[in-house]
């Protein structure tokens, strides 16, 4: 999706608000919202549908809302769309039904649970990889998908495969609730290939890209 979220290389942004040490949650609401996001949501949510939902916020909303407010919008919209809650409930008009919550979990239980969240996105695949390490690849210029992980700045460019990771879940399909395995590669692009004379010779940018992002040669 060619949305405002695809920020790599966009110009006009000012200095970075550099910090070296930060509390985990600078405000209380950020902690509560992150905690809710770890525990509540539609059961069939996929990581890519979640990302796509963030991308579907209006550009002005995307650029101005605090980071975790975008997550709040995604939670609300996905719960409304899946029937978990009503629109009135999402707007804070009160719960329309009540149920006792599950037993509270302790910090130790949650730390153990978090250890199991190292989700494996690799999948078996029958086809051999089309590209090998060291091989040159050419990315597609146009993407039809509504959700994709090939950013605009790396489209229609030539890079070199520096790693092959077997097959991983393909995000463009996963964002529609369909699981498809596709070979995944790390590709290095010369800064000069991406940015012309602006790029420093010797500098590079790497991206992790799926096989169908490349033009077959």
């Amino acid at each position: 999706m060619d949305g405002i979220h695809d920020l790599g290389g966009r110009q006009g942004f000012g200095p970075i608000a550099v910090t070296h040490d930060d509390p985990a949650f600078p405000t209380e609401w950020e902690g509560r919202l992150y905690a809710i996001s770890q525990t509540v949501g539609p059961e069939d949510m996929t990581i890519d549908w979640f990302r796509n939902l963030v991308e579907l916020l209006e550009p002005k909303t995307y650029l101005t809302e605090p980071y975790f407010q975008k997550w709040l919008m995604v939670l609300l919209t996905s719960m409304v769309r899946s029937g978990m809650i009503t629109k009135a409930e999402a707007l804070g008009h009160g719960a329309e039904s009540h149920a006792p919550p599950p037993p509270a979990q302790t910090v130790e239980e949650l730390l153990a649970a978090d250890q199991t969240h190292n989700t494996d996105f690799s999948r078996p695949i029958d086809t051999a990889p089309a590209y090998a390490i060291g091989q040159s690849v050419h990315t597609k210029r146009d993407m039809a998908a509504c959700h994709t992980r090939l950013p605009l700045y790396a489209r229609g460019r030539r890079g070199t495969v520096i790693a092959h990771h077997g097959a991983h879940v393909f995000p463009d399909a996963n964002a529609r609730g369909q699981e498809v395995a596709q070979h995944l590669y790390t590709v290095a692009f010369a800064a000069t290939e991406l940015w012309g004379d602006e790029g420093a010779p010797g500098d590079s940018v790497t991206l992790d890209l799926w096989e169908s992002y490349f033009v077959r040669s």
Partner: protein, 213 residues
């Protein structure tokens, strides 16, 4: 069940957003009341999640991993080979580190990590990401002008140092192994770990010093 319908989701987004209160804290308070009253989660569980990420899961974990890599060549080899497996030696595997990759800075190579499309971050070893990592400024500029971005962080690059930017576009997550500072021979793991800054593991800090150990 989700419908995975982008047009309908965008419609609900607009409808809800135009009616929500403007105060972020109020919105979250209302959401928390709702999910607790509906019985989706206990408020005490939410408090425990906040504590887990405030007190236990954070950049101190990554610093210990780096310190061990500095002291133990065999561990470093395992970390560079498969970081997702290597961090299990500490029990640090978890959220977003199922496909962790470690990249090592050298005298002539600097690595820096970004996520231009969202804000992917290796939570289980670095904890919550700083605000700047999620900012439009960092995400837009780092791939295009990494040297200017690094200068804003106070990173002074020698002319012969090459920069590689890792844009986290898949489920791989990246951990930068900074160079071990001079004058730290014989230091134990904990003392070495105290020198490793969070930003150095993202790549927005480079020259660590023994001064603070």
């Amino acid at each position: 069940m989700s419908s995975f319908d982008p047009k309908k989701a965008a419609h609900v987004h607009r409808e809800l957003h135009s009616h929500l209160p403007s105060d972020p804290a109020l919105r979250v308070k209302a959401l928390e009341s709702l999910v607790v009253e509906r019985g989706f989660v206990s408020a005490d569980t939410l408090t425990a999640w906040v504590e887990a990420y405030s007190e236990h899961i954070g950049p101190k974990r990554g610093a210990l991993v780096v310190a061990r890599a500095w002291r133990d060549a065999a561990f470093k080899a395992r970390l560079l080979e498969d970081a997702a497996e290597a961090i299990k030696e500490f029990g640090f595997e978890g959220n977003a580190t199922g496909h962790l990759k470690a990249v090592e800075n050298t005298e002539t190579q600097h690595h820096v990590v970004v996520c231009t499309l969202c804000s992917c971050y290796p939570f289980s070893i670095l904890g919550m990401s700083p605000a700047w990592y999620k900012s439009a400024e960092y995400r837009a500029r780092t791939v295009r002008e990494p040297r200017n971005v690094l200068a804003e962080f106070g990173v002074d690059l020698a002319p012969d140092v090459k920069v590689r930017v890792w844009d986290s576009t898949a489920e791989l997550r990246y951990l930068v192994i900074p160079q071990r500072p001079e004058g730290t021979d014989g230091w134990d793991e904990a003392r070495l770990a105290s020198l490793v800054t969070r930003n150095s593991m993202i790549g927005t800090d480079r020259d660590l010093t023994a001064g603070s150990g």
